[in-house]
Symmetry: C2
Subunit: 247 residues, 2 copies
């Protein structure tokens, strides 16, 4: 893990890094409280499809987790996103998705294929990132949280199922199509976001994914509006959820 | 409105009162911060079926609203509950409900009839209670919130629809059977509780009621477990919801 830049503003230090892994060079970003020393819980954030590690929705929420919760927060570019090249297979599935979106065809199975393809690569990368981040003085081997919606949920479900260091997860804006088997292996507390009028994820598929989690504590938050219309009070709720489960 | 007792503990003053109304003498309770002076938002709480104005779930949450939110909180015995006699019609419907529960019959329409019967009497009583409570020095003519689940939702939906002084409502554990028409007239922010494995309210009926609210801001919180298993963190959420909308 190699840090390539460091800036601080508003009490938050942002460091870009590159993680060298078997799958290549993975660009990431770490946010910590300025002048942080000593261990603290780490929250890993998974961005949405077509976004990247520094998409505004990721940076804004990451800074709140640091400022208001005192957490360390990290995000990586998902395979084929941000500064990372797309594979030929990813290009092919995205082409198929575009065609179906234009023709009004059934997109759910194509999205599920895309998420499965990316998850197969991302899950071991994220586990390696947790290994590397927990070696830092200002992070340490404490509890880990995961936040990810849409693609970040499609990849997050198999990641959370595979990674025992994750103690709590905020997931959502995704359906049971992608990762039903992994969802049924999740037992940590989950806060799950549903957009009631989501144009990309059928409501029944969202409710079916929530149903699958084996967690004793799982809570579904549904709000009106489309895929991108999650209300800002859900940020407050995610912050409190992580504070309750990681501290 | 006649106060009959006054006690204080833990910073909260509890006063029992009787409201004289066309439908008879209505027993109620008012909780306010000890030594409160000046106006504050009022939260009206509707208890569940078979419960009363001082059921433990009502008193516990009412005290939190006062201690942590600085609100005034009031509860009334619903018609046929607590210290109030049941009507012959209410007795008849409750008998029918017991018979069906024992025989494994369809209870939803019977519960809906019972709630409709009680709501017809309760809604004007609660509106009169708001009139009387807002004349008190330590309450005043500020915004009103409503909290009620199960029967408290069955009665609360027509009350919130009818009463323009109500600015925000926490409702839940009830389905669309009782009050679909009234639900569609509610436009204030609603936080709606669903128990995912509710043995009394079918999940589809709960989701259908949430769907009906005309509110721009409405948020559904679903948690695993039966009718009585709402997790305690939903109390924290209700407190924050009212703080956001009534202050």
């Amino acid at each position: 893990m190699r840090f390539t830049s460091r800036t601080s503003s508003g009490g938050v230090t942002e460091q870009l890094f590159t993680l060298t892994f078997t799958s290549g060079e993975i660009p990431g970003v770490l946010w910590t409280p300025e002048h942080a020393t000593g261990n603290r819980p780490l929250i890993l954030m998974g961005h949405g499809g077509g976004q990247h590690k520094q998409a505004p929705g990721i940076v804004g929420l990451a800074r709140r987790f640091v400022e208001e919760g005192g957490f360390a927060v990290a995000a990586l570019d998902a395979p084929g996103h941000g500064d990372r090249p797309r594979s030929a297979e990813q290009d092919r599935i995205i082409g198929e998705l575009r065609t179906r979106l234009q023709a009004g065809g059934e997109v759910t199975p194509v999205v599920a294929s895309l998420h499965s393809l990316i998850a197969g690569q991302a899950v071991p990368e994220w586990r390696a990132a947790v290994d590397a981040l927990q070696e830092l003085d200002q992070v340490g081997a404490g509890p880990v949280g995961y936040w990810g919606v849409s693609l970040g949920c499609g990849l997050g479900v198999p990641f959370v199922a595979a990674e025992p260091r994750v103690r709590a997860a905020v997931l959502g804006l995704n359906g049971a199509g992608t990762s039903a088997e992994a969802a049924a292996r999740i037992t940590v507390p989950v806060e799950f976001l549903v957009q009631w009028d989501d144009q990309l994820v059928p409501r029944t598929a969202s409710l079916a994914l929530f149903e699958l989690f084996a967690s004793t504590e799982k809570t579904l938050h549904a709000n009106p509006g489309g895929h991108g219309d999650v209300p800002s009070f859900e940020q407050d709720s995610a912050l409190r959820f992580f504070a309750r489960h990681l501290n």
